[in-house]
């Protein structure tokens, strides 16, 4: 949080059918439906999240990610980073307060990998869902499905991730926590953090711009990941791979797809990072193990199935 960017605050995903998507994000993942706006967008969050929402679903004719937004410490931070982004060469767009319900103004910027990102500092805080702020219980009753705890990170695919990572590291104060390097020194995967998490956003080099690999939600235990796998089978949900462990970040994970093909992840555990830590490095020759620690083999889907 060297430059005042705290965490991933929201992600807006495009879906082909809103009611089908809600069966996935609300009923299966267990996110809480918080609101709907006049455009028909639906706002959700994991139950521990204090801000009003972290996931926004928008019905569209092609799935994928519209943008991911990062919450900053203050409006002053947003102002100064806005100036630095322009200085750095980004195109910046000011989105007025209220364009997302109960969210303050946002500064949106583009990137060489073709993704759109946002900075904001103000969003209504409704508190953790289902438990009080004083003498809080351990968890709320009445959660459904996988009981996702929070939106955690996303993995994005695009060209020139070095350029995008530069924006995050040089302008926004993120650290490179983990990376995959080819024999010639080319970095093909960059996992960036602005906290002590192993990643707050991650990038993999890919020729098509602006692609989403997955949006990820945190669970507490391996038992919860296995239970998520059971729910995936019980509900005949499209499974990608898992439960397994990643080499990168060492998280314990399962990948699956929403009803229109956006990949979801639920995971637990994994590495932590402090600003004085050198990046954890995986060699590209060990890419299979880096991605799927047990299989030690990459499946074609990990590299080609994107939205």
């Amino acid at each position: 949080m060297k430059k005042g960017v705290m965490r991933p605050g929201h992600i807006q995903l495009r879906v082909l059918d809103m009611e089908e998507a809600l069966k996935h994000y609300r009923d299966l993942l267990g996110l809480i439906e918080m609101d709907r706006d006049q455009q028909g967008r639906v706002y959700l969050k994991g139950w521990t999240e204090v801000d009003k929402f972290s996931v926004v679903l928008r019905e569209a004719d092609a799935p994928g990610m519209d943008f991911v937004g990062f919450k900053c410490l203050s409006e002053d931070v947003v102002d100064s980073l806005r100036a630095e982004l322009i200085e750095f060469g980004c195109e910046v767009e000011d989105i007025p307060a209220g364009e997302l319900l109960d969210c303050g103004r946002r500064v949106r910027f583009n990137s060489p990998s073709g993704h759109y990102f946002e900075l904001f500092a103000s969003k209504q805080q409704t508190g953790k869902w289902g438990i009080g702020e004083v003498n809080p219980e351990a968890w709320p009753q009445g959660l459904t499905g996988m009981k996702a705890v929070r939106f955690d990170h996303c993995l994005l695919y695009g060209p020139n991730i070095a350029g995008t990572a530069d924006i995050f590291c040089k302008v926004l104060g993120f650290d490179l926590a983990e990376q995959v390097i080819e024999p010639d020194g080319n970095i093909i995967a960059r996992f960036l953090t602005t906290s002590s998490k192993a990643h707050d956003v991650a990038f993999i080099e890919h020729p098509e711009q602006g692609k989403l690999h997955h949006a990820s939600f945190w669970l507490e235990t391996w038992e919860d990941v296995l239970r998520a796998a059971d729910l995936i089978s019980m509900n005949d949900v499209s499974l990608d791979i898992g439960p397994t462990r990643h080499g990168l970040t060492h998280g314990k994970t399962i990948y699956f797809f929403d009803p229109c093909g956006n990949r979801s992840e639920v995971f637990c555990g994994g590495d932590y990072h402090y600003p004085d830590h050198p990046p954890v490095t995986w060699q590209a020759e060990q890419l299979g193990k880096a991605i799927f620690y047990h299989d030690r083999q990459l499946n074609e889907r990990f590299l080609t199935v994107l939205t």
Partner: protein, 138 residues
């Protein structure tokens, strides 16, 4: 009294799917998608991706037969393509026997060229969802 056990799939109608470019055929029950029935038949003559009409990996061209289609990503099936019989197998519900051609997921770069190249900063394929808002990065 216990109910008499009947096979879960039941007897009755099914459609014959012919995948000409692979020289394979399999059966599809009414109400099943072209891709799901292929998976059930333990075949791999159509590539499997997200199974949700989003990734384009299962793209096929339908040469003959009747079918209906759930909504598909415009990134992979533009309107003129749908009219030409292109479709995403995971969203196709056969309504008769079908003759199809698989392996139409063309613009996808192969794994090796993808990871072990200089990864030029160019856009591959046309992605309408990007075009609308993609501005040049200075």
């Amino acid at each position: 009294m216990r109910e008499k056990l009947t096979p879960a799939t039941g007897a009755g109608q099914y459609f014959q799917i012919m995948v000409v470019n692979r020289g394979e055929k399999y059966r599809c029950r009414p109400g099943q998608s072209l891709l799901a029935s292929m998976e059930l038949a333990n075949s791999s003559c159509i590539n499997i991706g997200c199974r949700g009409g989003g990734c384009g990996v299962c793209k096929v061209r339908i040469l003959s037969g009747e079918y209906s289609c759930k909504r598909m990503s415009k990134t992979h099936i533009a309107e003129d393509q749908a009219e030409a019989g292109f479709a995403l197998a995971c969203r196709v519900m056969p309504l008769s026997d079908l003759t199809v051609e698989s392996d139409h997921c063309s613009e996808r770069p192969h794994r090796n060229t993808q990871f072990y190249s200089d990864s030029p900063a160019t856009t591959v394929g046309n992605n309408p969802s990007n075009n609308k808002s993609q501005r040049k990065f200075k």
